[in-house]
């Protein structure tokens, strides 16, 4: 991003260092007292999240940091977004569209929610269609949303068959080649990827971002 003022650098640093109290106090001051451009503040948040993502990949950060970062961004977003005076052309162009859901029979959503958040803050438009999603709902949502990537989530071993059934239904509908499919969840590995016919699997949210960026031809 463009050169930062010392104050902006401070905000990025506090966000990236998980210094929640100071970061939120500063962002509130910038937005509510000093009239900072809300789009600029959100851009600073994305810069901080890039650092968080890198620290995650380097093994310095783990799930708690991704979750807390998500919470901080959500809090800042709630203050910043109402202040945005929408103007044509100012909206950030999204890298691609991802539709994500937990396959039928499985009610787990923690991993899916973290993947959704990480894709969102990394520039993807994400539609999360929830848990225990029937095959027909996936097909209906895909037809309406036209995603570039479909993410199937599942924590239980029963999800292996649900994922396979869901992907087979995409084939039967003649839509399989229109998007890439990634799968993820506690028990997912290369064996399950082969079994279900997915294009790839990821073991964490950052891998999901990498997969999507690669598929969209964006440098990861």
């Amino acid at each position: 991003m463009s050169d930062m003022t010392p104050q902006e650098q401070q905000l990025v640093e506090w966000l990236a260092d998980m210094n929640e109290d100071d970061a939120l106090a500063l962002s509130n001051k910038m937005l509510l007292e000093e009239g900072a451009d809300p789009l600029r503040v959100l851009e600073l948040c994305r810069t901080a999240m890039d650092i968080v993502g890198k620290r995650f990949e380097e093994g310095e950060y783990f799930l708690p940091e991704l979750v807390l970062a998500g919470e901080m961004l959500d809090t800042i977003g709630k203050v910043a977004k109402p202040l945005i005076k929408s103007a044509p052309g100012e909206e950030v162009k999204k890298l691609g569209k991802v539709l994500i859901g937990t396959v039928h029979g499985d009610l787990h959503d923690i991993g899916k929610n973290i993947v959704t958040f990480m894709l969102d803050i990394n520039g993807f438009e994400v539609k999360d269609i929830g848990i225990d999603v029937p095959v027909k709902t996936f097909i209906k949502e895909i037809n309406a949303y036209q995603p570039d990537v479909v993410g199937l989530s599942g924590f239980l071993t029963l999800a292996f068959d649900s994922m396979k059934e869901t992907i087979n239904a995409f084939e039967a509908e003649g839509m399989r080649d229109k998007f890439k499919i990634m799968i993820g969840g506690g028990q997912i590995d290369e064996t399950v990827r082969g079994y279900t016919g997915a294009d790839a699997f990821g073991v964490n949210a950052v891998e999901a971002v990498h997969l999507c960026k690669n598929w969209m031809g964006v440098a990861a």
Binding site: P64, D106, I110, D161
Partner: protein, 434 residues
């Protein structure tokens, strides 16, 4: 199980079931194989454990819903599966799946189960929620029992909903005590007691069936692997109180209070586990571990928050002559050096996705090992794949002196084809049968 009577022909009665001398010898040999592994003395043949949730239903041709609600069908399915595979130790299978009727009477809210939120052929699933808010740490710390009675129990089970009207007990005294009991007469409190008594009666009935099944497999020559389950202090608060994301944020926002709660929980969880294990008569305590995996927190957080209260608990159980069997879910490779810090020959460490060869290298002189055939291989692979995976563990762990108890990564997944289960037991006997 204390009704043993030796009869003239050398057989024994366990409850209503006769245990022949041959079955007794088989029972003793199986149990001794497990205990030898714990002592780090490799037995003649590699023991094989049997742990599962809904596989017995699939194997026995009944629905998951029937396994949870029909005691007779459940006992038969769980008995037949033991007879077919002849494991050295059996998880108390009914304890894992047989409580459907009690859950209904209690109006239990933390689970959805077959016929109650999920389909008849789907396993029960836990609902990750915030059952205690972050600003209630002080209440919990000051008076955990009061917090349970007035706040926690009404949140997690509908039968307890009237308990939020009960008085706060500390402070009741003299005429204040007499006047303080008025709320027991409220209709909603009376209704709660009626529901709880009905649920408790159901749990009693369930326990009778559980005991009956245990006596029957014991008489047939098969020991229970473990008598009771327990939970680590961190997982107890994360799973059942704060919820996954709440707990992760607390590592930053409420770290001091969290540590105090974990210390307190370590004390009462250890006490409770010792009491329950002694009642069960079986020294092995199964402790499924949810929040230790490498990806879930940093090594520093693990050593600061997760491990100290759990180690305290492990040491308390060991000092009470119990054998803790933590089941380290997911991949815990980076934790191995830390969790090694316990006395040798006292625990079974069961690993789910941690590389067993690596675990053996680090922990082989410290603990018995259990596991860990991959769930994806067991459910989607062939008997030949299973055979090869068992051979890999025998070649690289057992034959190198590892005190390994073979099992699936988290027992037998519900969807496993029976030929693959058969292959696991056959391969154990083929490659490490003594």
């Amino acid at each position: 199980m204390s009704t043993d009577q030796t009869m003239a022909n050398g057989s024994t009665m366990i409850g209503p079931y006769e245990q022949t001398a041959a079955a007794k010898a088989a029972y003793d040999a199986r149990w001794e194989r497990i205990l030898a592994c714990v002592r780090l003395e490799q037995p003649q043949r590699m023991p094989v454990g049997f742990h599962s949730f809904f596989y017995p239903a699939k194997h026995g041709g009944i629905t998951y819903k029937e396994l949870m609600h029909d005691y007779e069908k459940a006992k038969k399915a769980c008995f037949d599966v033991v007879m077919e595979f002849e494991p050295d130790g059996v998880y108390p299978l009914l304890m894992g799946t047989g409580q459907g009727l009690a859950l209904e009477k209690l109006d239990f809210k933390q689970l959805q189960w077959p016929g109650h939120g999920v389909g008849d052929m789907q396993p029960y699933q836990y609902l990750d929620r915030e059952y205690m808010s972050a600003d209630e740490y002080d209440d919990f710390l000051f008076d955990p029992t009061g917090f349970y009675i007035q706040k926690y129990l009404p949140r997690v089970a509908g039968a307890f909903e009237g308990f939020d009207k009960l008085p706060s007990f500390p402070g009741l005294h003299y005429f204040r005590l007499v006047n303080g009991i008025r709320s027991f007469a409220l209709p909603e409190v009376r209704a709660s007691f009626d529901k709880i008594v009905a649920a408790a009666e159901e749990v009693n009935t369930f326990f009778g069936h559980h005991t009956d099944w245990v006596q029957k497999i014991n008489a047939a020559g098969y020991p229970l692997f473990n008598g009771v389950n327990a939970v680590s202090p961190y997982d107890f608060i994360a799973d059942y109180f704060r919820g996954a994301t709440g707990m992760m944020k607390d590592l930053y926002r409420h770290k001091d209070k969290l540590k105090l709660v974990l210390d307190k929980a370590a004390v009462f969880l250890t006490k409770m586990t010792i009491t329950n294990a002694k009642m069960s008569g079986n020294p092995i305590v199964f402790i499924p571990i949810h929040w230790a995996p490498d990806a879930f927190m940093s090594p520093k957080q693990f050593e600061e928050f997760w491990w100290p209260p759990f180690r305290k608990m492990l040491m308390g159980l060991i000092e009470a002559d119990l054998i803790p069997m933590p089941m380290w879910e997911s991949d815990c490779t980076k934790r191995l050096e830390v969790i090694k810090d316990i006395p040798a020959g006292k625990c079974i460490y069961w690993f789910e996705r941690t590389d067993m060869v690596k675990a053996f290298e680090v922990l082989g002189d410290r603990v018995a090992l259990r596991g860990n055939l991959s769930p994806s291989m067991l459910t989607t692979g062939t008997p030949a794949d299973v055979d090869a995976a068992v051979k890999h563990l025998v070649d690289n762990v057992w034959n190198k002196g590892g005190n390994l108890i073979l099992d699936g990564a988290f027992g037998i997944p519900d969807e496993t084809p029976t030929p693959n289960v058969r292959a696991m037991f056959d391969a154990a006997r083929k490659y490490a049968g003594g």
